[in-house]
Point group: D2
Amino acid sequence: MQIPLHWISLLRPCVPAYAGTNGIERYVMTTLTNSRTVRIEWGDCDPAGIIFYPRYFEIFDASTAALFERALGMTKFEMFKALPFAGFPLVRTRAKFLKPTRFGDDVTVDSSIKFGRSSFEVEHRLSLNGETCAECSETRVWVVRGADGEITSHPVPEDVLAKFQT
Amino acid sequence: MQIPLHWISLLRPCVPAYAGTNGIERYVMTTLTNSRTVRIEWGDCDPAGIIFYPRYFEIFDASTAALFERALGMTKFEMFKALPFAGFPLVRTRAKFLKPTRFGDDVTVDSSIKFGRSSFEVEHRLSLNGETCAECSETRVWVVRGADGEITSHPVPEDVLAKFQT
Amino acid sequence: MQIPLHWISLLRPCVPAYAGTNGIERYVMTTLTNSRTVRIEWGDCDPAGIIFYPRYFEIFDASTAALFERALGMTKFEMFKALPFAGFPLVRTRAKFLKPTRFGDDVTVDSSIKFGRSSFEVEHRLSLNGETCAECSETRVWVVRGADGEITSHPVPEDVLAKFQT
Amino acid sequence: MQIPLHWISLLRPCVPAYAGTNGIERYVMTTLTNSRTVRIEWGDCDPAGIIFYPRYFEIFDASTAALFERALGMTKFEMFKALPFAGFPLVRTRAKFLKPTRFGDDVTVDSSIKFGRSSFEVEHRLSLNGETCAECSETRVWVVRGADGEITSHPVPEDVLAKFQT
């Protein structure tokens, strides 16, 4: 088991990757989005009877994987085998919690993405009966494992990008 | 079990609460901070061998509770019994992940706080051997349960504030 | 928030409830079962790349709730409102882990139940492509909250039992 | 990332490993035990205000790692580097939940172990103020990764056993 020791090194090279000259224009906009339904479970909730918010981040992480699965037609597990890919660790996130959800709720998570060079941003909107309950944005970095076992950032493969633009 | 259905209603009254005339001056700065050590466990880590980031939010949530416990000399459970208090739900959070941690790491979490009127902001810095691995800021609202069972925002009690300023 | 302090007191009265004279005959056998599909997520897995086994118990807990939802046509949240019901805490469990599962697997959980008087036993079989990966049996107690707020065991309501026998 | 596909194959060879001729005598009894204190957190608890039982299994898993750390003087992470070791997956567990615990409780977990050849059994007793709240027994298998990347059961190394008998 090879463990990446420093991924600050991942962050640095990727900053210019999506900053462009004006910080915006290098993004690759995509049209593909994903929507999925998630049941909030009893065990996701805290003594206030509502979801314990770290569970939202579990839901968002799985929603990002689901978005890639929708675009690529393969699970994250299969991505490890088929692509130059060692994960897409999160480097930054922001979230707002507008309205609590509780066990028994079937919430909808809508996810969209825009790509920098080796980083990308995912926006998640979690709603119940059309009303937004939580919003989250994630900055992630596409990483690969080098011959020496080291994890480094890597441009998102062109054929991956292409799958999001169809 | 009474379940709060809408806490967007909590957010709205609290915005002016800490906005003041210039958005800053109404904050009550505090000097009390808390530092605690947390062992990252095998089960906190994902197939990349590093911490699965939603676990950080579990750690931060417990660190906020620990900060109040340090200031007030009582656990969150005791706060429910002793204070006008029905929780301090998170309404907004931001986090940066700079360097991964892994099972076996004993990380340090340093937490500090500044108070608005019924909201407050907590800053957490998670470090390993002095090096920052993650940073998180939380906006939370102090809530109470009314006679009708409804959850509403409530000014942070004066004696709670006082305990943070000694 | 009322917290049950001692549920050993729940266990004791329920032992005779399903012991009968020969320890078996008091069980009410049911024919209703439930089958559901669960995606194993990246965040459910540990550094060995396979599911971290406490996640199985989260899946089994949700599967028991799903079995009741199938039988009663209401979520656990609705059970709290519609029935003399304050939960069905687990008092005993056994599990075997035969074959690991990993992120990307869509596993099937088949759940069946037999009722004592105030306790019941749920059997879960978790399989992948027809092959059993984990088995779990749970003993749970049906509890209600008395006028004094105390949690006590309570016979499973007749109309609940009836729904499992159709 | 190498993923073990079938660990039923681990279970089979290990059955005779600790069955001996009479099913008992092959166990190596140890005297080393470990005791640790764990704070039950708000986020570990469910809407009933008490611990959500899968959290107990997270605590027990970490307690087994802590027992080995106590005996060997190294973390589980260090065991991967220093020993013929690819983990000790759980193959069977039983637990009883006698008395609920809740957020703010500082519980004690006492863990003891007895070794078969490539399997071992760990007993955990979780108590609060001297009163047992939960008991758990685990059967685990010591595994190594072969040259082909396959996971197989392996006798617990003699020098590991020796550390538990001092």
